[in-house]
Structure formats: structure tokens, C-alpha cells
Amino acid sequence: MKCFLTKTRKTIIRTFFSSSFNRDIVILMTVSIAIGSSLANVVAMSANTYFSSTISTLVGDYGEFDLLVNVREEMKEDGRVQIEKVIEQVFPGAKLKEGPTLNGLTSFLVGLPGQNKTKQTYETIESIFGSVPGLSGISIMTEPRVTVKAVPDGAKSTVIEQIMHIDGVLFAFRDGASVTVIIQSLEKSSYVNAEIEKLLGQYHIIDIAFPVGSEPENPMRLGEQIADAIRDEKAAGYAESVSVDSKSNDMVYMVSTMLELKRFLMAYATKVNITPAAGVTFRTGDIITFQGTGSNAPVPGGSLDAANVLVKVTKAEGDRSAEGMVIQGDGTQVANNQAYAVMNTVIGDPVGTAIFQNPRKQLGDALNQTANFVREIPKIAQDAQKMTGVANNALNSYSGSITAVEQTLGSLASAGTTIQTATSGLANLDTSAIQLQLTNSSRAMSGLVSTLQIIRLVNPDVSSSINELTATQQNLTNLQDTLGAIDNVAANARQARSAIDNIVVNGNSMVANLRTFDVNGARQTLTETGSSIAQLQQFNTPLVAAQLQYLGAAVPNLKDEEMNRSINLMDQFITGQALPSQRIQILTKSSITTEFAGPIINRVVGHNNLSLYTSVVGIIEPDPRAQVMMILTQVKAILAGMISLIVVILFLTLDHTAIMTVIRRKRTVNKTPKEKRWKRLLLGIKNTFTAPECLYGMGVGALILTAMFILSGGGIPYLPWIGVPFLGAVIGLLVANNSEKISPISVDEVTAGEALGLSFDEVMREIVIPNGRPGLLQTLNRRKMKFK
């Protein structure tokens, strides 16, 4: 074997390297590889260095900064000022640097002093920087660190406690949905990573999910019971319920909000009350159409139009009427209330009529009217104040009038005894003044009653006063009539006497009634009403009117069609949510499978209408900086690969095409195909891949490309290593098949050289290469040329 290898080696050296030109080719390829890989390396490393330093400039060097505070761009100046204040107060000596702005967020890098890098600081970092205006989030950047994500809330404490026992861990803390572990030093980073992986691998979470309708009443308690039951099993060892109280779960809030929104929209949408035509019965889900904004009414047999208003029946009543909801168009656009059936976008026969109640419009109208009314309140209050004054004046003259009437009755009584003797005196009795007083009083009372009726709108307490005044007014009217009769008593003295007697009796009775009117009370009421009106005048009615208008404008301006779609979307969202309260999580050892725990759980729950699956306790999140560096390494490899590819193509084209052309010429000049056409074709195809120049090209291409890739660390995405020599061979093959076009040789000169007895090497060195493409081969050849 050894002898064979030695023999083979000598044969190869003799045959291949005996020719000095072959040695030149080897030197050429070596130099090509060296230059190409160096160039690829330089370019790739320069790019890598540039990007690395750019990243360091953006996010600082390793371990330089501890926090990344994101602030909305439009508030970055205010944010910066506040951050500086916080740093000054809480972290004196901290470093601050503004980072890049991306997607509307400006990042600020904060480097904490050593003494502030404590667990408490990190756990309260959100509240420390909570006052920063425009704050969008804070990320921990302290290095070295490990972030464990996807840790269930309930398991975080246990995980943190376990991690803290790992040698090399400074501390661990809750960081949003993750657990972040700060490591003592970079040297311990790998060890800590490995230990955390091991730790996470030891445990898993058994999730117990309940379908709708089978949810436990108290999932927290049930979880504990399940954990106890599992622990009681001898083989289990460790089990802990880590379920969380769903009351604090954001999803519940979201679902609740969606439900309320849906309820609001449904209350706000147009209500359609449909009265069927004779013989028509509606079912839930039926679609009917109305003329909308189109100029023509729907025609039976015609196609639906986008201008039609479509209504879907949502409820069919027992009396064949129905309720519906607008699903296309808007209730306000309905031109007439004739309803037509719809079957598969074809309009059917008329099926009834409908009334559209538009709460939106009604609300808008009500708000507008209320606003208008509110604007009138100041004027009404002012008028009411005036009327109160008038009523007060009327009350003031009321007492005087009663007294005057009493006096008059007294006079009448004394006049009665002397009526016969003083009949003539009767004619001197002047009741006009009294009548005038009564008229004024009655009028004043009328005015007072009117005023009080208006005041009753805002102060119902005055109703009793109004009733009293009305009765009083009636009495005054009666009295006026009586006095009128006195004027006629002279003609009939005797009747007058009895009349006078009657008058006196009635008058006394009437006065007694009039006296019962609580003038002070009425005055008091008027005073109180006056002060109420004064308070009313203090109301900021412009503000109220403006707010009513604002409310009217703020009410959602959605068409019925849009509301219907929104309601459907909300339904989909709500239906798709499983409320967390339906899930119990048990933290246990990884060796406890669902098969083992299943029967225990079913026993504790009392049924098996549940789903069990396992999930990891946490996943170590890759270090972002390491990830970026890894990406940069890949970029570097790709750059190196690309440069190598380009260099290989260049070298093949400039240096090796001349050689390939000569090889090709040697092959073709003396050997011409004698075959038939199809055989010639086959031969041509075969030669494309197996001709000596093609083999040369493929070999050289594969060799130098592979060597450059290895030396420069090049790589092409998705291309395995075996693909590199293949790619080089393909390039070499392509170049070889086009070598004559790329690097034509002067056949005459070559022939002349051969005729002079020049060897192949000499022909190449003196004739072919000097006349070929400028390149490395030509440069290296110069030292061998005898005629430079």
C-alpha cells in the first residue's frame, strides 16, 4: 500500500508537475486563493467591524448600559428632562445617552451606578420612571444576564427562588412576563445558563382546561386540591398550584368591555319593526330589502343594488310581526317602507312594511331641543323674577283691600239699621272705590297666579299657593258682584235692607274666608321662589348648552351597516376567548406526565370533561446582543462568500480562459466529429461537461472557490458546504464553455509558435498569455517570459 501510494505520488508529480506551466498554474491558483480570500476577509471584517461599532454606538458596549427607556418621539425632550431628574434624584452618578429613534419611539440608554443595581431597583424600575412623559416601556439591558420568558405568573416566585440558589447568580426578579437573572460576571455566564436550562428542564406545567359550561366555581381552591392530591401520590414528590386569579386578568377586562360596547351598539342601532303582508311569515335570519338611496324602488326579479337597504330579521314575534337589524346601508336612507324579500341576491315579492326607529336620530334631536331649552332658561328666570315682584305688590295691596271690605261691611251693617231712615243716605254710599280696589286685587291675583304657574314648572311647591289664590280670586269676583247690587238698592229700600243684611252676612262670611288666606305664607313662598330663581340665574347655561352640543357631536356617527359589522366582529372575538378562570396550572416535576396525573385530577375534579396538556416552565431567551452579533457573523460570512464568488469569476475569466481556450483548440483542431447529426448532438452535449477544458474549468473553479470560502469563512445562506465546490464547478463550466469568446487567441500566432518547435509551455508563456486578458496570470507570467 505504501509502495503504491509512493508510486502514485511520483506519477502525479512527474506527469503534472513535470511541466513548468503546470507548476505555474498551481502557483497561480495558490496566489489567486491567497489574494481572493484576503480580499474577502478584509471586506467582510471591515463590514463586520463597522456594523459592530455602529451597534455599540447605538446601544453601548457590552455592559455599558443597564436600561433602555423608550419614549414617544414627540415627547422626547420632556422625557429626557424627566429622566435626567429621576437619575439625579434616584441614581446619582448614572449615565444617560440618547439612542436611535425608530417607529416613533426614542430610546434613552441609562447606565446605573453599581450600588443601584439591586433587585429592588429592577423590580420597581417601572414606578421609578413612571413619571416620564411619553414613556412607552423600559427594557433591562444589564449584562451579563439571562432572561427566562414564558414563565407562568404563579410559578415565577418558585422559579426565582430556585434560580437564586445557582452559584454565579447575583439576583433574579420579575421583569414583566419574564424572569430576568443578573449574573455576577461574564465568566459565570455559560455555567449559569446551563444550570438554568437544567433547572427548567426539571419542571413543567400541567395545564388543566375546562370547556364552557364545566368551569369550576373556585379554580384557585380546586388547583390547590389537585396539587395536594398529586403530592400525596408517593411517586410525585413536588406539585404546586400556580393558577392565577383571573380577576386581575386583562383579558377579562377586554371581554367585558367588548360586551358593553356590543350592548351599546345594539341599543344605538336602528330598530326595524316589520309588519308582514297577508300570508307572509318571517323567520329569524330572513333578509328583506328596501329602497335606499337609489332612484327606483326594488323590482321583484331584479338584482340587489348597493343602494338598497338590507334588513336581517332578528326576531319573529308570535303575531307574525318581526324585528330586524340593518345590515346594508342605513336606516335613515330608506326612501319608502315597502319591504321586499331577498333570495340569493335576487329581489322577491313585497312582503310587508316596516317602521324604522332611529335612536341615533332621536338622541340627536333630544339633545338639540334640550340645548335650545337650556339657552332659554336665563330669560325665563328673568321673567319669573319680574312676576314675583308683581305678585309681592299684589299681596301688599291684598290686606288693605280686605280691611277696606270689612269697613264697608261695618258701614253697611250700621247703615242697615238706618236704611229706612237713611235711604237717601244709601244713595250717598260710594262703592266704586271699593269695586276698583277689588278689581285691582283680582287682577293682581290673576297676575300672581300666572306667575306662580310658571314658577310651578321649576318649583312644584307653589301649587298650593296657586290654588288658594285662585279661590281667593273667585271670592273677590263674588264680592264685586255683590257691590254692584248695592247701587240698585235705593229703588228698593226694603229689599235693600234685607239685601244689605244679606250683604253684611255674606260679606262677613266672605271676609272671614279671605282672612284665612295666608298672605305671609304666600309672601314667604314668593320670596323663596325668588331666591330659587336667582339661583337658577347663576347656572352656567352656556356651558350646559355647549356640553349638550358636544355630547351630540361625540356620539358615534356610524351607519347601521357599520354597526352591524362591528357587532359581528365583537361576537367573533368574544366567542373565541377562553376566560383564564377556566384554566388551572400545576407546577410539578417533568417526570410527572399527564398520563400519571390525569386520573388524580379527574378524581379531584369529579369528572373528566377537561383537557390536560403540559407546557414548559420557561424558555431562556437568547441574549439580544449575542443574537445581533451572530447575525453580524452571518453577514460577514455572506459578504466573504459573495466577494469570493466575484473574485473566482474574475480570476477564471481573466486568467484561466486563455488556458481553456488553448486546451479547447488542441482538442478541436485535429479531432473533428465524423458522426451522424444526432450522434454529433449527443457528443456536443457530452463535451459540454466532459471536454478537457470544461473539466479544467470545473476543477479550478471548485478548488479555488472552496479554498477561498474556507480561508475567508465565507458562507451562502441555505447552501450547504457540499454546494460550494459544486457552485465553483458550475461557474468554471460556464466560463469554460465561453472561454473562446472571453479570451480569444490568435490561432495564427500559436500555429507559428508550434511550427517553430515551441513547447506548449513556451507557446503559453510567449504567445498566448501575453496576448490574453490582463490579470494575475499575465502578471505572474512576466517573470518567466524571455521576450517581455
Binding site: 473533428t672 517553430l756 504567445i767 524571455k786
Partner: protein
Amino acid sequence: MLVIQNLYKQFGSLVAVNGFNLSVRTGETVVLMGPSGCGKSTTIRTINRLVEPDCGSIMLNGSNILTMEPDELREVRKRIGFVFQHFNLIGRLSTLENVMLGLVMSGMKRETAESKATESLTKVGLENHLHHKPDQLSGGQQQRVGIARALAYEPELMLWDEPTASLDPILVREVLVVMEDLARYRASTMIVVTHELPFALRVADRIVLMDQGNIVEEGKPSQVFINPVSDIGRKYKELIEYQMNTSAQSLSGKA
């Protein structure tokens, strides 16, 4: 000196040389003539294996050129001078360097080579153009460089492949003068492919007429052109007569 036997060469379906047999004595000048495409250039190029024949033998002083190893063949080629139709000079080299090329490559010292090259160029009358590049020379001068290059080795055998075909009549004369000189006064063994009838008549020891790869007639010029037995020979005879009559009429002023 040179014995060619059963030489055969086919290009695709075209038989260029079909059983060619020829013997050339030392000092003899053999002129190959025939219509274009009859295989003259192919025949002459196979002699030093610039074209590889399919079969046959070419014995040069008892050695079969067709069976030689590459090294041996190169040595033989140095003993055979070849002059090409299109000169085939190396464009980047000067006149002197073109002639020196073969000498230096064969191991000769540069100074010696330069001396021989200069001598060779002087023989062809180009002593004043030693450092000119080929594109600075006329066609005739270039061909003379080609001749000087071929002669620099002092070859035993000179092969001429239509050396005047690319030249105008005046330049043709330049070259033919050199060729005649070589043929007459230096007793070189030459095989010349040419259409130059006057040259052939004056210089050739033997005319070989070819047609479609075969020798159709062979013999002294007086024999071939005066009493031809082949069609080609007859055509040449007619051509000679025509040229002579035309020349006479032109000289006598009659059209």
C-alpha cells in the same frame, strides 16, 4: 529525404487528403498546385503535424514524424521551416524578436540568436527594419520576416503554404525573388504550395497537381504544362497560354 505514404485526412465528411504519396529528394523543389480546396495546404501542414493526419506515414530522413513523441516532434519542427500564407508573425514582438524567438526557445544564447536573426533578416533585405513591429511593415516585408524566421534555423526542409496569396503583385515579386534565390542558389529542399505559375515554371523541379485530395498528375513543369494528361493539367496549360497571349497583346498595344 521526405517520403509521404498513404496520407489520409478527413474533416467531417470532407476528405481533404486521400491517400497522398510523395517522395522529395534533398535539394529538390516540389510545387503543389491545384484548385482551391483540393487539399494542398492540409497536405503541407500534415508534414510537420500542424494538422494531425488520420493515417499514413511521413518519413523524414528515415524517421516517421507521425509516430514521434512531442519532444521529438518539436526538435523535428526546428529542422523544418514553415512559411505561412498570412505571415503568422507574433504581433507584440519586433521583427528581430520574431526571428529570435525560435532560436532563444531552443536554448541558444540570446546574443547568438540575435546575431543569427540579424543575419537572416539581412538575407531577406530587412536589415533596416530590425526593431519594427509587424504592423509597421508592409505585407511583403512581413512575409520576408516570416521567411527569415523560418530560415533562421537553417532548416533541412522548407515548407511554403501559399506565401504570396495575401500579397499584391508588387509585393509578390519581393517574396518570389527570395524564394527563387533560396531555391536556386542555396539548394534548399522545398515544398511549395502556390498558384504562381511563373514561379512554378521557373523554379520547380517537380510539379504535383492535386484535385480533391488526390494527386492527379506529377512531373516536370515542361511535362505537366505542355503535355498534361489530367484535366487540371490541361486547364493550367490553357491558363498559361492565355496569360502569355494576353501579355503579348498588351505589350504590342493591341487590345
